[in-house]
Amino acid sequence: MTPRDFSRERRERVLRIALPIVVLLLMLALWEVIVRIENIPPYVLPGPSLIIRTLIDDWSLLWRSLLVTLTTTVEGFLLAAAGGVGLAVLFNQSRVLEYSLYPYAVILQVTPIVAIAPLLLIYLPQPLAVLACAWIVAFFPVLANTTLGLHSVDRNLAELFTLYGASRRQILWHLKLPSALPYILGGLRIAGGLSLIGAVVAEIAAGSAGAGSGLAYRIAESGYRLNIPRMFAALLLLSVAGIVIFYTLSLVNYLALRRWHESVLEREA
């Protein structure tokens, strides 16, 4: 690679990071200017500066709410990961179990979570209902992806294991699960975002009736009180939480697969 190519590649990389930031700053500036020139009241549309100020002023309240929502999300995610992978492995080992239970997993998935949440809130204490929502939406992609992965074993490798008299446990542990790993990680990446959505949906459904104090509950509550800047501040925190979850899981994916899987290998120049 000549120095010229190198500098061009570098410029490209800088542009890829700088351009979205410039766009963001321009949009925020435009937003702020319009709000000020038109004199729009904050309960209709607060400007970005007010949202940031609200975020700082209400930080202790919002931070506590964020922690509540994040705890639910992480718990829902971990249960979904364990449940999804565990169920997929069980299905893989027993056809009877797969045939009996898989349709119900699909039904759980295709029924909109917004419609299930109010029902769960009737039968379960609120924190548990929220957790259940996070779990229901997040577990299916893990189950579906892991199932696909466990079936995507190289046929010749499977025969090699047979030839050497591998036990079912050895085949699962040394062959099927490693083959499925990229699929499992793909499912987990989707599940991370979905468990946040599930938690938020349940908190919103619980609404003002609920005793919860998660971020989505804050958004609903602030809406009733016409505290629009706080709604925006809470929304901003939710977005940031979603982004952090996504990139954390992407990093885990990269670290686990970087030496062998096509999806994360660097393209040769």
């Binding site: 490798l157 090699l160 294991f161 047979t162 030839l163 050497y164 008299g165 490693p178 062998w260 290998l265």
Partner: protein, 269 residues
Amino acid sequence: MPAATTPHSAPPLLALRGVGKTFPNGTVALSGFDLDVRAGEFVSLVGPSGCGKSTALRIIAGLSEPSEGTVEWPSQGTAMTTPSDGTSRIGFVFQEPTLMPWSSVAKNVALPLTLKGRSGDKAAAPVAAALERVGLTKFADAFPRELSGGMRMRVSIARALVLEPQLLLMDEPFAALDEITRFKLNNDLLQLWQASGTTVVFVTHSVFESVYLSSRILIMTPRPGRIFTELAIDTPYPRDQYFRTSAEYGAFCRRASEALAQAMAGGDP
């Protein structure tokens, strides 16, 4: 019908008698297939694509059940189970390297040992020896993805040899490699075979490759596959590049090609 067996004082290592294989879709891959493999020889099965060479190899390995006929190991009874001293009777090399992409070269080679419950320190010495034999000691920690096609095939051979099998089955192992690499691996394989004293059954569609490698060539008829005739290549080992360009080699190749043409035309040997 010509018999592929020749009178011999010691019982053969392996004897197939009247083996037939009919697939569920009605395809008759093998019919009346007789084969004796004597300890220590290098025998090639040569025939056009789809003549049942691979099927025969899979039946010998126990990966496929014959529809009729018997597979016997006259010198040690018929049980396919592995002897208790930890050595295995059969090593198998597929057309593809068939490596686990998520494991290092050393772990791939150690797989047969791992599946027999010998891992860690107990596997280190045989794995190192097997890697040494194929000249990949320096690449023990590399991942398959980082190796060339020829090197991956060496790993596959090292893995097949790690249990010091009595019989090494190879299913067109070099078909996907370029000619330079193939010639090199041909030489290496002959050296390994001579050094280890194992028996090789080698499937190929290349007359030239089979003449160079084998002590005996079995020409097969297309569907249904059976042995058409056999050709002893009595040139002493070690063979090298001089043999490859000798008139003797050319004469053998001509005879083998003629026999193959007859087999495909359905004539008498």
